[in-house]
Symmetry: C2
């Protein structure tokens, strides 16, 4: 059976470090070339969304993430100029300081203070939702 | 730009009624023809996953759902024999009793007591996760 065409599936990750910073890349390609973004990318056929998320973080920043938790699913039609791309967003909190190294598709990979960041696509929304979940966890 | 091929994207919905029952269909087609399943189906390009979820519930059971909340994202490679299909699962609790009517792709649509149900695909897992979230909400 041929499966119907559906929106493309991607994943993004909000990685927090113990100093309250977030892991961002600067995009190497259009759209939004040069802009800060969450690490992420397309899910491959044959991998789970969580595996794709870990793979993309590793490829783009060199950082290995283990436990990740779901932030939300972002599917607005116009969230990406390339077409209808649905992103499953995850988050994780690292317990140790780790230095990123720039990898595939990215111009840079760095820890950024959360105060004043300008993000590509709808990544500001994803980041805000992840930060809210962080606060709930911290309040326990 | 051509988007890469990614897993097919679907959605399923766990609809609870005020009597503690769950809305199930009996599948009209293979795979799992004749088996109970959650209402759901493929996401179309140009609709959000939440819109697709509401549309599928309406098409398959005649029931209109408004507010839906995310249960999880199910992406195991072998969860569907037709290929790699990722499901974004939602849940909702109806406040009024409503009678379903059988719609597209389904052999029947009915309210089923939660005690002893046998579900197609990984829908038992989705259902268990939704039920757990229901308990958390009820405990507030």
């Amino acid at each position: 059976m041929t499966l119907p065409r559906t929106p493309a599936l991607a994943t993004d990750c909000v990685v927090f470090d113990p100093l309250g910073r977030v892991l961002l890349i600067r995009r190497g390609h259009e759209p939004c070339a040069g802009k800060h973004a969450l690490p992420g990318g397309f899910v491959k056929i044959g991998e789970t969304v969580a595996s794709a998320c870990r793979r993309e973080v590793k490829e783009e920043t060199g950082i290995e993430v283990a436990e990740i938790s779901l932030v939300g699913v972002y599917s607005d039609i116009d969230r990406d100029p390339r077409g209808h791309i649905v992103s499953v967003a995850f988050m994780t909190e690292l317990t140790n300081e780790t230095s990123p190294r720039v990898g595939s598709d990215a111009r840079s990979a760095e820890w950024v203070d959360m105060g004043d960041i300008d993000l590509a696509f709808d990544h500001a929304l994803i980041f805000a939702h992840a930060k809210a979940k962080l606060r709930i966890k911290d309040a326990r």
